[in-house]
Amino acid sequence: MTGKASMLSLLAKDRFASAAVVVLGFIALCAAVGPVLLGDLAVEQNLRAVNLPPFSIGHGWEFVLGSDSLGRSVAARLVVAAGTTMSVAVPAVLLSLTVGSAWGMWAGFSGGWRENVSMRVGDVILSFPSLLLAVVVLYVFTPSVANLIAVLAVARIPVYLRTARAEAAELRSRLFVDAARTFGTGSGAIIRRHIAPSVLPTLLTVAAVDFCFVMLTESSLSFLGIGIQPPDVSWGLMVAQGRQELQTAWWIAVFPGLAIVFTTVSAAMLAAWARVAGDPGQRWRLTLPRKERISA
């Protein structure tokens, strides 16, 4: 069995995971080429064709998902927004994942006061109203994408910190870790070689769900005006702006909302699959026909 080929064939056997890959791939494609192809269409206002209802191509294919209150194509904005959203959500999630999990693994592996202090720092962040943090940072600095990412990442670090710490503390006493110590392997190398590969799958699952949180938080920040700045558009901003019109033009907020849901659910499904597929001890389960599979 060669790595890549077998992974692909495993993936093909799981309908849910394959669907998730297709959805995420499509979104990635939109994010990558959407702004180039549809960038103008997404900002082109047509004040004489506002709030067109969706599922009609009477006004041209670009209005298949309706138009917003400035007569812009919702479909085009969705596609372009995918890029902005991903450029915020992905780095934010990755950043909090990286920092939180590295810190958590270190804390859990080291134990003692390091562990205690780390947990307390996590407590502080968690019991802090993250919106205050956001308002402060984006007030003192400017609401740029980088600051947005930083704020979202900091607010979510404790989630990974806690999970990683708990798992690392458990792994710390595992025999294979002891074995590595007997070779003289340093702590850093043990974390890298033994702790991280075991902890990351769980963290990835957390990260998948966190995607949603980050996108929705970005939406509330946009609503306060400290999120993505127009004419850039993100799903969160679309949701925030469309929220005012839920009663009269539901599609403006619902489609980006659905995009968030789809992305999150797909990411969660894929993470669940990857968790099993990435574990050599569990991988065989995926080769079973669906009906006969038992769960991890």
Partner: protein, 518 residues
């Protein structure tokens, strides 16, 4: 199957009740608010966007406070008629100017405060002093009187003399903001639940939940139709609208077109005018051609039709009709993109750095779809050949840009703003917004300053004419802003209630004008 749209508990489906009561039972008693679920028909139920922070009359120039307090709980000496702009008697029956700086008011007899005490000139003098000359930081003081000082003199129980340091031709109008409270009121601090002479008194303020006013039986004037009024507040416009549609409220205020009030929606001009303030001190905005181009480039008709959902009226000046100083000759700038482009090109040819990025400083929620409006503006200005970015801010951050001193290190800006002249006189507009040193002004010219100053001293028709001239000068020679539209407000009105909103409704919502249908 669902006979009534009333959410009395007995009509809620069993499952829902079970679920909820189970939940309540599990956490012990959980009733958060008091009050009965069904109000009799003699209560008018009003849903506001926010809870009044206080009912302190000397802060009544705050919309959230004034909306409840003014003319309901407390009353001023004079009252401005929104329709005509005329100043009408209220607790004062008549007044006359006895010298350029002093006025004598004759007060109404037989008026009683809610605590039963009689209203005298003593009370009126106390209220004016408390509002204008005290240290308690009254909002009305700053809003209406600025740094001008008043002195009062009680002549007899029904006669009061008010003197200003400088001549003030519109003193009676200014005094329409001073709500009268009994002399026993705390002079050193603010009160949250005032005693007044108004048709309603405060019955119960269940903070966070609801506020009930009850008809005051000893009211000197005509008794209002409703025995009581109950205010609740919901932050979400669509919920406010839904409450009227579901019969939970009779009147919902502060709605946006998209809130879905449907047939219940009633539109009214709300005296607000939206505009973009142009920071004419910085290039390229220091070139008048560019400022003119901006005015030409904005499609006000399109903006009103789309973003404001047809509500509002393209405008050419921040002083609307009905306010002293309105200039009927100033037309909205025509939408002429070609002209805008050529002006920009011309400026560019003269070395004006039109490529320098201009920032639109917007404020979320300043009016419905504020961000979208700025996107439209941005779109037009980009087309005209300028480089424009948007920065939407929350109120406090935005205020930093609105008011002097302005933040340092910012480039050229266009500031999203809205001006409402509640007082009905251009004096409340011109100095602040167009004066070189005005609190909200980023740019002025000596000529304009002179014109404004002259107008402020004038009275009668001369006052109107002078302000109008100043406005015209601004519009032709200074071009310091791009006025967008006179705005329209929406309230939702239940079919059971008869009420006609007017331009003052936002700031002063008179319960006495509401009556049940038949």
């Amino acid at each position: 199957m669902f006979p009534l749209r009333q959410a009395t508990p007995s009509r809620v489906p069993r499952a829902a009740v079970l679920l909820a009561t189970g939940a309540v039972a599990l956490t012990g008693a959980c009733s958060v608010g008091g009050g009965s679920a069904s109000d009799a028909g003699d209560t008018v139920r009003i849903v506001l966007p926010e809870e009044p922070p206080t009912l302190e009359p000397c802060d009544a120039s705050l919309t959230a406070t004034g909306r409840v307090t003014r003319s309901n709980i407390t009353e001023p000496l004079t009252e401005r008629e929104p329709a005509t702009g005329e100043v009408q008697p209220k607790l004062a029956t008549e007044w006359k100017q006895t010298s350029p700086t002093s006025w004598t008011f004759t007060l109404r007899d037989g008026v009683k405060f809610h605590d039963g005490s009689a209203f005298t000139a003593e009370d009126a003098a106390f209220s004016i002093d408390r509002t204008v000359s005290s240290d308690i930081g009254c909002n009305v003081d700053g809003y209406v009187f600025g740094d001008s000082e008043l002195t009062t003199k009680v002549v007899d129980d029904t006669t009061l003399e008010v003197t200003s340091a400088e001549p003030d031709p519109i003193l009676p109008l200014r005094l329409s903001f001073v709500e009268i409270v009994p002399a026993e009121t705390d002079a050193e601090g603010k009160v949250r639940e005032p005693v007044g002479t108004g048709p309603y008194r405060i019955e119960q303020w269940n903070q966070g939940v609801s506020l009930t006013l009850a008809r005051y039986d000893g009211y000197w004037g005509t008794a209002p139709a409703y025995a009581s009024a109950r205010y609740v507040w919901r932050g979400e416009g669509s919920i406010r609208a839904a409450m009227v549609n579901s019969g939970e409220a009779d009147i919902a205020v502060g709605l946006a077109p998209a809130d879905g009030a449907g047939d219940a929606a009633v539109e009214y001009p709300n005296n607000e005018t939206s505009y973009l303030r142009i920071d004419a001190t910085k290039a390229p905005l220091d070139d008048i051609r560019v400022r003119r181009a901006i005015n030409y480039a904005l499609d006000k008709e399109g903006l009103v039709a789309s973003v404001f959902a047809g509500l509002g009226e393209p405008a050419g000046q921040v002083v609307p009709d009905g306010v002293t100083g309105h200039n009927p000759d100033i037309e909205p700038w025509p939408y002429d993109m070609a002209k805008a482009k050529s002006l920009i090109k011309e400026a560019k040819a003269d070395g004006v750095p039109v490529d320098r990025p201009i920032t639109i400083i917007g404020r979320n929620g300043i009016y419905p779809k504020a961000a979208e409006a700025m996107e439209v503006a941005q779109n037009s200005l980009l087309e005209a050949g300028l480089r424009v970015e948007i920065k939407m801010l929350d109120v406090n951050a935005w205020l930093e840009y609105l008011l002097r001193p302005f933040p340092a290190d910012i480039g050229p800006t266009l500031l999203q703003a809205q001006h409402g002249n509640q007082a009905g006189d251009a004096a409340f507009t011109m100095g602040q917004i167009y004066g070189s040193e005005g609190a909200q002004s980023s740019y002025g010219t000596p000529e304009l300053d002179t014109l404004i100053e002259q107008a402020e001293q004038a009275s009668g028709p001369e006052r109107q004419e002078k302000f109008a001239r100043a406005l015209a000068h601004q519009n032709d020679e200074v071009v310091r802003d791009a006025v967008l539209a006179h705005m329209t407000g929406i309230i939702a009105l239940s079919p059971n209630v008869e009420y006609e909103p007017n331009s003052a409704t936002n700031d002063e919502m008179r319960l006495a004008e509401m009556r049940p249908v038949n």
